[in-house]
Amino acid sequence: MSDQADPPQGDQDEVPFMQKLLDNPFQLLALGLITPTIFYLIWGLAEVVGIPMAP
């Protein structure tokens, strides 16, 4: 659009970390699957499995 000189190469890569994350559906998917699986599912099942058997 503009015919200004290209900015120095280094600047172009400086997309903030959060924006990179928010722009990447697959990273979001991975986070969305891993977090509940660890904190809810695995931890929860570990509690259930840890209940001692009735004698």
């Binding site: 924006q19 928010l22 559906p25 979001l28 998917l29 986070l31 809810y40 929860g44």
Partner: protein, 576 residues
């Protein structure tokens, strides 16, 4: 190339791809069919829970309750959500949908599965309700139907992601995906999680029902099942919030107050909302408090924070847009002068307010481990979730339907006067149902109970007269809501069949998903979607004092209600 067939809607400027729009229509139509079935059974359930009517016998009551819960909570909502996924990807990003043949396969799986499960219910031997707790057995086709439906929905989710990839590769948009698409992405991610959890528990349960597995442990079932049952409700929350943003943009030309804040709030949903599944197990013995407290407080409050962000930025962005148009008098002129007789707006705004005030506040109450003891398994619980799914989600879907009928289906709305009143009828009836269910539940009336008068029970129990009166009042609200729901079906289906055609090619078959004649589409690629003004210009004006005042009212209500419940708890348990 058949791939690049688009039409541009002259009324909205939106682009519809030929196959994409057929997929949207087919899913949306089936959604409404299941809304009708589920709604009829909801009315029957309600008429049974009204002590003065007590319509159905016990067996039929539990069958009706099973059909109501499953068909309306799962089939109506998920069919509609898959339609939303196609809309938010193909239409909003101006791109062809990925692998449409697979899309149809997913659709057929959903249709077969939902019909199979519903017919199994109707045979009468599978009245296990939508939670289907083991060891209560249902016929194998009940589980199989659910599994097929879920696989179909999963296909829809993956095709959504694939469509995002295509749009990025073919550079159909500048910058980031639009916020509404981002909300749909959130819904899609949560849906994939829900369906995976569901597979982990429902496949073994299906195998158990056909005798291939000796038993499924009830507590393991409950733990994993609620990973599905709770998370799937968060698909709804994300989809409905995406629709709120969409309607704010459609009706007011509002732009999000801050793209960054709204997207971060969706990220909080992705990370934390599903952990709150633990609130369904707060009274289950055998699971420790650390797990319960971590998942339902620390994690859940972050997700609640996100909902409050959306609940503020949507009206806030509307306020900013209205003030820019000159509605600047006092705190609330922007709201008073909003188009209250346009059901697209009124439906969306009622959805937002009632979801927040009734659904949100009661949700936090229920999610508090101690207070949960007062109302666990009482009719307070259905009171809460009718505020969230029946008003929040369902009314948002109804509102966007009124927009889609002319734009997607190319038909004029029939009965516009009725349409104007429909959101008020439905929301008014539902609010009454919700408030009286909450009240009766606080007085101890159980949920899922056929006869609280215990007329033929060996042990008698008498509920307070107020509680019984409240059930009756809830019933009146339910009847009103059913009338509002019926009006929606009448207007939606009636418009597809009898509504004036806004395009000569919008035939009856086209209303149900058959593509329009090729001549309706052009081969020209839509112009690339530009950046949103907020992205391009950075921050704009943010002053929204009216919304800020509303937020203070919300917080005050919350604090008072929380205190009342804590006080009530202390009086119930006589602690000294």
């Amino acid at each position: 190339m058949a791939d690049t067939l688009f039409r541009q809607c002259p009324r909205s400027g939106l682009f519809f791809h030929r196959t994409g729009e057929s997929l949207m229509k087919a899913h949306a139509v089936f959604a409404v069919v299941f809304f009708l079935i589920g709604g009829i059974f909801g009315l029957l359930v309600m008429l049974t829970r009204m002590p003065s009517v007590h319509l159905l016998d016990a067996e039929t009551f539990y069958m009706a309750l099973s059909i109501h819960g499953t068909d309306i909570l799962i089939f109506w909502i998920i069919f509609f959500e898959v339609a939303v996924l196609y809309f938010a990807s193909s239409t909003l990003l101006r791109v062809r949908p990925a692998a449409p043949a697979l899309g149809w396969l997913g659709f057929i799986l959903m249709v077969v599965g939902s019909i199979m499960t519903t017919l199994t219910f109707l045979r009468g031997n599978s009245s296990v309700m939508f939670t289907s707790y083991v060891p209560m057995p249902a016929e194998p086709t009940f589980y199989l139907g659910l599994i097929l439906f879920a696989v179909g929905a999963l296909v829809g989710c993956f095709l959504f992601l694939a469509t995002l990839v295509i749009a990025k590769r073919e550079k159909t948009y500048d910058g980031s995906i639009p916020l509404v698409t981002f909300g749909a992405l959130t819904a899609c991610i949560i849906a994939i999680l829900s369906i995976l959890f569901g597979a982990v528990i429902l496949i073994p349960t299906f195998l158990w029902s056909v005798g291939l597995i000796p038993e499924v442990d009830p507590l393991v079932y409950r733990t994993i099942w609620w990973g599905l049952g709770h998370s799937s409700q968060q698909i709804n929350v994300s989809a409905q919030v995406a629709i709120w943003y969409a309607i704010a943009a459609i009706v007011f030309g509002a732009t999000p107050m801050s793209e960054k804040v709204s997207r971060t709030a969706f990220l909080l949903y992705i990370l934390f909302l599903q952990l709150a599944s633990a609130h369904h197990l707060l009274v289950d013995p055998g699971i420790g408090s650390s797990w319960k407290v971590f998942n339902t407080s620390y994690a859940m409050y972050l997700a609640v924070l996100a909902s409050m962000v959306h609940g503020l930025t949507v009206p806030g962005s509307i306020e900013v847009a209205q003030r820019r148009k000159g509605y600047t008098n006092g705190l609330f002129e922007w709201l008073r002068k909003a188009p209250w007789d346009n059901p697209v707006f009124s439906g969306m705004f009622l959805s937002l307010i009632i979801f927040g005030f009734l659904g949100g506040i009661t949700g936090v109450i229920m999610g508090t481990e101690q207070i949960n003891l007062i109302i666990h398994n009482t009719i307070f619980v259905p009171g809460h979730f009718h505020a969230t799914v029946a008003v929040g989600t369902t009314l948002a879907f109804m509102a966007i339907t009124y927009f889609l009928i002319p734009v997607l289906f190319q038909r004029e709305l029939i009965l516009p006067k009725l349409a104007k009143w429909q959101p008020y009828l439905f929301a008014g009836g539902m609010t009454m149902l919700v408030i009286f269910m909450l009240g009766a539940g606080t007085l101890g009336v159980p949920r899922r109970h056929w006869d609280v008068s215990f007329s033929d029970a060996l042990m008698q129990y008498q509920y307070a007269g107020t509680a019984i009166t409240m059930l009756g009042m809830a019933g009146l609200g339910g009847i009103l809501a059913a009338v509002g729901g019926g009006a929606y079906v009448l207007i939606a289906v009636g418009s597809l069949v009898f509504g004036r055609r806004l395009d000569q090619n919008a035939t009856l078959l086209a209303s149900f998903g058959v593509p329009l004649k090729p001549g309706s589409y052009t081969l020209v690629r839509p112009e690339r979607l530009g950046m949103t003004p907020a992205e391009a210009e950075g921050a704009v004006s943010h002053a929204a004092p009216g919304t800020f005042t509303l937020a203070l009212v919300f917080l005050a209500t919350f604090v008072v209600y929380f205190f009342i419940n804590a006080k009530y708890l202390s009086s119930l348990w006589h602690m000294s």
